[in-house]
């Protein structure tokens, strides 16, 4: 039984049922039942057209369930009036699913779970493991999400920005469990980019590919963080970088800049430098100016201060930092770094230790503690 094939077909089948007017939750149940039947029947009797087989089986399951329902008559009328199923562009169906799963009425965690389930075709168990919560909890999260969107009618396209945010959330959730969520997010974004012509979709795909390309070099074998400047650039995935840069250039050429394209441009400039010293910080700082203009986010201003520090020197970086809220995540770490570059090791060591205390993840905390220890050791020598 080819599990990957089943998984790749699931969203399309689900999309067709939804487009034919099946309620989302009922369609999902019907597709799951059809999958179970496929697992039972296919090994002995493989279908010539797997997708067509699944659509037929799932539609039959849906009709069975609907007939058994109390609202039988009304729905049978609807089924009766439905034109006979013919070949349909599966493209639109998948897109519809993306928008449904990222519906604004869902919380971010529900939207993420539903997307992985309905568009990604992952099992509840796989999603629960990836997010380190019990399967029962994830099952409830998904069925609540299904109920929430079950009355939603899709006569207008949804909000692309919301879909992109959900996919970026999946990407950022990291790498634990037997499902690589970053790779899954790239797969889903690639699929989305194939069905929707939007520069920011391309921008997000490029950004993910460029980040992902550096993944192997980002951590040491013991799990500790390796800063960008110290990464072994030989371990970067040049294929993924080339693909990301290509996608980005095509998107930028359309002159509809958005925040993901700007972020991808920064990532591309990093990926482009053969050594850390060759990094084009002046251009990176200019892209951060664009990003500030597009998002006006304090986190972006903070990152911009780092770039300015590299482009125009640590004093300029500290000046850029001065106006920002000191309680921002990583603010103290950035201040520590700039003070170190400026030669004020005592202040830098104190700030690194303070930043370690505030860190929200283990790898970052250990890294910052080591930075403080390194400076303290140097000062006492």
């Amino acid at each position: 039984m080819d599990e990957a094939l089943l998984r790749s077909l699931t969203p399309g089948v689900l999309g067709i049922l939804v487009r034919r007017g099946a309620d989302f939750a009922a369609a999902e149940d019907a597709v799951q039942e059809a999958l179970v039947e496929a697992v039972r029947v296919w090994p002995a009797d493989p279908p010539r057209d797997p997708k067509g087989w699944l659509v037929t089986a799932a539609w039959r399951k849906f009709l069975d369930a609907t007939r058994a329902d109390t609202a039988r008559l009304r729905r049978e009328d609807r089924v009766h009036e439905e034109p006979p199923p013919g070949p349909a562009p599966s493209v639109d169906d998948t897109l519809r699913l993306y928008f449904l799963c990222a519906h604004p009425s869902l919380t971010p965690s529900s939207a993420v779970a539903l997307t992985l389930r309905a568009v990604g075709g992952l099992t509840t168990r796989q999603i629960a493991r990836a997010y380190l919560v019990p399967e029962a909890t994830m099952a409830q999260r998904i069925s609540r999400a299904k109920r929430t969107v079950s009355g939603v009618r899709f006569d207008r396209p949804g909000d692309v920005a919301t879909v992109l945010r959900v996919l970026y959330l999946v990407f950022n959730e990291g790498y634990s469990g037997d499902i690589d969520l970053a790779a899954e997010a790239i797969r889903l974004t690639r699929q989305l980019a194939a069905v929707i012509d939007h520069p920011e979709v391309a921008g997000l795909l490029a950004l993910m590919l460029l980040h992902h390309a550096r993944r192997a070099a980002r951590t040491a074998p013991d799990g500790s963080l390796v800063p960008l400047a110290e990464q072994d650039r030989g371990r970067w995935d040049t294929g993924a970088i080339a693909e990301g840069v290509g996608i980005l250039q095509a998107a930028l050429a359309r002159d509809r800049l958005g925040e993901f394209q700007a972020q991808a441009a920064i990532a591309a400039l990093h990926a482009d430098a053969r050594t850390a010293a060759e990094t084009d910080w002046v251009q990176i700082a200019e892209w951060y100016d664009e990003l500030v203009r597009l998002t006006d986010s304090p986190v972006v201003r903070l990152n911009r201060a780092v770039a300015v520090g590299e482009a125009d020197g640590p004093r300029a970086g500290l000046a850029a930092l001065a106006g920002l809220d000191a309680t921002l995540p990583r603010h103290t770490a950035v201040a520590a770094y700039l003070h170190e570059r400026d030669g004020d090791l005592a202040t830098a060591a104190r700030l690194y230790a303070e930043a370690a205390h505030q860190a929200s993840n283990l790898a970052e905390r250990d890294h910052l503690t080591r930075q403080a220890a390194r400076l303290n050791a140097r000062r006492s020598r």
Partner: protein, 135 residues
Amino acid sequence: MAKYLLLKHYRGAPAAVNDVPMDQWRPEEISAHVQYMRDFADRLEKTGEFVDGQALAPEGAWVRYDGEGRPPVTDGPFAETKDLIAGWMVIDVDTYERAVELAGELSAAPGAGGKPIHEWLELRPFLSAPPTVTE
């Protein structure tokens, strides 16, 4: 999307508003309290925010390595002044605000006289995996 630990203390937390030792409650008040906690956990499972929760026995000891070939040192029964964790619950929620809201609800569990205890709960975020950042 972010996990938090809710810690309930036998001892060590600031005094609750409705601060009557549990052994002086009426039995049905204790049952109501237990039921409240159980309902709370059930509800969180249904919203997809529950990860785990357990109660802990009041007995406990500090344990420390005491050198090669020697048994670990324990400090014996707890001294009166020490913090004592009564139980914990792990939740997985979208925002810090939601975690605070839930901790507030848990703190409203009924106590003596059927009135909320208003006990202090400790709320601690888990350290997470490093996010991908644009450098």
